[in-house]
Amino acid sequence: MTTAMAVAEAVRSGKRSAREVVDEALAAVAAGDGEYHAFLSLLPDEARAEADAVDAAVAAGGDPGPLAGVPVALKDNLCTRGAVTTCGSKILEGWRPPYDATVVEALRRAGAIALGKTNMDEFAMGSSTENSAFGPTRNPRDTGKVPGGSSGGSAAAVAAGFTPLALGSDTGGSIRQPAALCGVVGMKPTYGRVSRYGLVAFASSLDQIGPFATTVEDAALLFDVLAGYDPLDSTSLPSQAEPALAQVHDGVEGIRVGLCRDLVDGCAPDVVARVQEAADALAGAGAKVEEVSVPEFGYGLSAYYLIAPAEASSNLARYDGVRYGLRVDAEDVAAMNTATRTAGFGAEVKRRIMLGTYALSAGYYDAYYGQAQRVRTLVMQAFDRAYESYDVLLGATAPTTAFDVGAKVDDPLAMYMNDVCTIPSNLSGHPAVSVPFGTGAGGLPVGVQVLAPALQEALLFRVAQVVEAGAPS
């Protein structure tokens, strides 16, 4: 597997053509993706045209950008102008957005090539990619296992070696958890750091776009391309992001690491053992590692599964059969809305809409939604206290390695438990990354999670790089 750094270097120096890189990637998907179903659709014509433009820029002596000729897989909730964007849902089957997401434009400006759109749990609601209306994705490390979710297609595309990079979205762990289960790097930036214009909304106070890669260095490279202010996203942060790639090899000498018991205890023994080894690797590299307890994180799951469905129930009200997507005709508008939504949404999406509508309804608003928002404050304050003593926190990404396809589809609460270690960073809006660290039972990958305060992505990647360097090969 070639890294994005190596591909871009070869393309920029003229050693390889972007066209050759893209043709190879398309051939690899055609040969291998029947087994995994990482992609929902490919963009062969667009990708080849963009590759030819990169090659023309190189031939003319221009700089095609830091990701020159690098194929990137896009989660199918990122809008691509004129190219089908489904969100893994029947209600958007065949929908071609009239505009590009800001991150898609940023990739193009950097010379990257959008290769195709990846499979996902419908509207990003799930932790296994089994909730896709177009069939599940399989884990490339073991096709009997799920790849995690909801960005399972993006994680699988990178794990299978189809593309060195991919984009996902992370509302409760939907980048980090599949990264852990597939053995790749997956990172959620600070809320507001990366524009969400053109990301189909799930839970707007939690959603964030971020990178998948095979190395921490590649993830930092992609993060630097994505980060920045965007006037089209009202939650975009106006401050400049600190470049992450330039500092990624600066090490952890003197960095205070809090090994967070609440993000480790309760996980499977093989996961606990790998996190401890990662902590030892950081200590060996000069970090000051101590154990810390943040018991408030334990309330995160309940708060999240009230807040996210509440926001989703509001965001998904737009799928009414009027302006885009599916319409099932009926005699009046209300009946048409109901017929369209009933036919277009899958079971998990309906469940979350129901849960959110109930949590927001008269008589229950304070007890559920209001209380969950107070828990959110509690979690944010707990983070602030922890970061008075520590520069970063360390824990597991997911409580177990990849589980069997079909094992949790009938038990929503068991599925939700996958997100228990990733949710706190979504509630607080802080950045966090999952780094592959050896394997657990059955030779399946284990992910170790590094968490940092808001806007500390450069530090986050530095620590992640040392974890990666210390991982058993």
Partner: protein, 99 residues
């Protein structure tokens, strides 16, 4: 334990414009009870001293000059709509008597 009833589920489905079969009502009632029972751990906390947070960052209103700017092309937007008439979204009748 939550007091979520079958009737609550039917009512909420109507609010959300979803038509559930009897089997789905049964299933969702049981599943939503499980999730809400789990949420009892936060429902029972005394957090009256804390302000609710709706967002991870402090949001402020941002104002700009009210000047016309290009927006999405109308024909491109209407091209992906389910039904269009006279450059508008066409929908079935809205309430009242059929004409």
């Amino acid at each position: 334990m939550t007091d979520l009833s079958r009737e609550d589920v039917v009512h909420v489905a109507r609010l959300a414009r979803l038509d559930l079969s009897d089997e789905e009502v049964e299933l969702f009632t049981a599943q939503l009870r499980t999730v809400l029972d789990h949420a009892a751990d936060v429902a029972s906390l005394d957090l009256s001293h804390l302000e609710p947070s709706s967002h991870p960052i402090a949001l402020r209103n941002v104002l700009r000059a009210d000047e016309p700017r290009p927006s999405l092309d109308r024909d491109e937007v209407l091209a992906v709509a389910p039904a269009v008439e006279d450059h508008r979204f066409r929908v079935p009748r809205i309430g009242g008597e059929a004409t």
